[in-house]
Symmetry: C2
DNA sequence: CTGTTAGCGCCTTCAG
DNA sequence: CTGAAGGCGCTAACAG
């Protein structure tokens, strides 16, 4: 049973003082190479590891990043945050940090947990997920000058990023609008014109963002999106119901972009069941093969199979052959860790641009001065479209 | 900006020595009530929190429990471990512990991580998930007398718990066989006789366990399970294929118990597509309503709709109306934390029985002596059957 | 019951 | 470049 090996043991073994060992660890350039190697060898053979607790007492840094684990959401989309969390754990480890988990039901209890954690385990930073309108967490953390990043833009009251005078904080996000735009474009390219959108009620930043990409693309192609979308709560049953309405509307859709895989799965059900029962709509007809024939409509969309595209590329999408917009979650996690470490160890000033990141250009980079002294950096990542049988 | 408040500040505020404050925190019974209240009030108004780092240096305990976050598995079952992890985080917090996360690809890297963690953040314990045949992690930890619990029985080489002389360690598990048995019984009660099983290739402890509950129940009802099951890799497509075989076999099944929701989802697809196309089998016929009419077979099963039951009660099961066996994951997590804290703070000896737990009787409680001195305790939880449209 | 003493392992001065 | 002090905040032993 190897009793705890300390820095003193290493020093003795290497024939140097404890400080030299410490220097080898923290400022190697101060130590002569020969000595350094000797110390490192001693560290290796003894299996020495610096005690975090002792180090933290001295430096005030815990090398811990705290984040919340969310309870299983109703839907199918829960896996998104899990994948993010896995990426975060891996990225953090690479940067020498560990993830500390906490659970919290609502904002109040989450902030209480912040308070608790800050006093006890003293994480070096927080990563916030699932940001929302009027999110009180960033303000609380900023007031106390606690480093943090959000995965998700700060959604202002208008649904636009930074629209409400938010002084800003580092964030990473995925460009949802670009994702739905790509999906819509793909369907346009396949000859579809009446491309619907199945989303959530207005007011959720993420949902509005995703809808906007669809609407923008349709408009750009000279198609009026009015009447082609439905808003509903997230869920398979809700999605199925809303999709039915769209498929049997006066101007029936022939393809559908959805704000989530749950909705898309519901839509798929709707398509299949309408297909199976050979139902008619006011101006369209679903054939046995899932092809929708739109009577008397102009354009080349006659006989095209009804297409559905989801969002998040969850395991279910893969399982049922649903095309979906995929978020680069590992990259997002890496981005969070990157922004955080940049806060801790500021890069040499005057370096390369500090906005933007891999996979896409940065955001607008507004001129807000950061009174907290932290650089207002952010990373906006581009999603990708994963095509399967459903489109 | 509230600068770090220390135990000295509290002592001064309360007019006592630092030691007294410490006593109020750790051994309140040693302090006169009046003093205690005064100190507590000072703690409250000052917002004092004991520094974990300092405490850890003194006590050697970090109040951290390390566990692994698994990468997204292929399937749909990933959510199981996430729900467990959430429960673990919540239970640990209630007991005054936090969860420290790590990621690891294989056993080798996981053990390297153990080593790293033990030397740096020094978690008080580990929780191991996804145990498997020949799992090398428990032995590694036990050799070093590091406290740990596994979620999952130690599967011996024969597939039976503790069959290979494993000296034992604390574990929590869910009785999978009881779950499939309940599912099978439910189908028997509904009049089914040819109840199939869709599982994984033999050799996986969990899979064999689940199959055994089905086989046992069928045998108990006087039905020979031979030829009524299929083994395949986990996955919707694999499940669909295997289910087709079963539905069109010489002795076609009329109901199906599955080892996972992925397989069950595939089976559901198979049932629906066979139903839709009105396919015939050697001795059965699927009607349009998904009813299987078995020609010339004895028993009351004619005209019964084909039933499918999954395992794990994942969000997808809920979404598509699939009946499924549900594991009590929050309880399992609580059980892990309970076993761990029992290790740290042993209950008064001669207390109540130390085996078994809520929801079910304990395991066999073999007579192995534990050379490490730790009590070999375990908790076997009972799953429940969640019925939906599919059964 | 309360106060004093000592030191956990490390890193940051400051001298050599 | 290397060695000698000092102390981060806390608690386990003792002394009063």
């Amino acid at each position: 049973m190897a009793t705890k090996v300390t820095i003193t043991d290493v020093a003795r073994r290497a024939g140097v003082s404890r400080q030299t060992v410490s220097n080898v660890l923290n400022s190697p350039e101060l130590v002569r190479e020969e000595t350094r190697d000797r110390v490192r060898e001693a560290i290796g053979t003894l299996g020495y590891r610096a005690s975090q607790a002792a180090r933290q007492m001295r430096t005030g840094r815990s090398r811990l990043i705290a984040t919340r684990i969310e309870p299983d959401r109703d839907g199918i989309n829960g896996s998104v945050l899990d994948r993010f969390l896995h990426g975060l754990t891996a990225s953090a480890a690479r940067a020498g940090y560990r993830i500390l988990l906490y659970a919290a039901g609502d904002e109040r209890s989450e902030i209480d947990t912040f308070d608790d954690l800050v006093g006890s385990h003293e994480p070096d930073a927080f990563v916030l997920t699932s940001t929302y309108h009027g999110d009180g967490r960033p303000a609380w953390l900023r007031e106390r000058r606690l480093p943090f990043v959000t995965f998700g833009r700060p959604w202002g009251d208008t649904g636009e990023p930074d629209a409400s005078g938010d002084p800003g904080h580092p964030w990473v996000d995925v460009d949802g609008a670009a994702g739905t735009a790509a999906a819509t474009r793909h369907l346009l390219d396949a000859g579809h014109r009446r491309i619907g959108f199945l989303g959530w009620p207005p007011g959720s930043g993420v949902g509005d963002d995703r809808r906007s990409g669809w609407a923008r693309t349709l408009t750009g192609a000279g198609i009026d999106p009015a009447g082609l979308d439905q808003a509903t709560d997230d869920g398979v049953a809700d999605g199925e119901k809303a999709a039915r309405d769209l498929l049997r509307a006066e101007r029936p859709i022939t393809a559908l972009v959805c704000a989530s895989d749950s909705l898309a799965l519901g839509a798929l059900h709707a398509v299949r069941s309408l297909t199976a029962s050979g139902q008619l709509t006011a101006s369209g007809r679903l054939t046995a093969e899932g092809r929708l024939t739109v009577g008397g409509q102009a354009g080349g969309e006659e006989g095209l199979p009804v297409r559905v595209i989801g969002f998040d590329d969850t395991p279910v999408a893969k399982a049922v052959g649903l095309s979906s917009v995929s978020q680069p979650l590992a990259e997002a996690a890496a981005g969070c860790v990157g922004l955080l470490t940049r806060l801790f160890d500021p890069p040499s000033p005057g370096g390369p641009g500090e906005s933007g990141g891999p996979g896409g250009p940065g955001g607008p980079g507004g001129p807000f001065a950061s009174e907290a002294g932290g650089p207002r950096t952010h990373v906006l990542l581009q999603p990708s479209l994963v095509l399967r049988q459903s489109s």
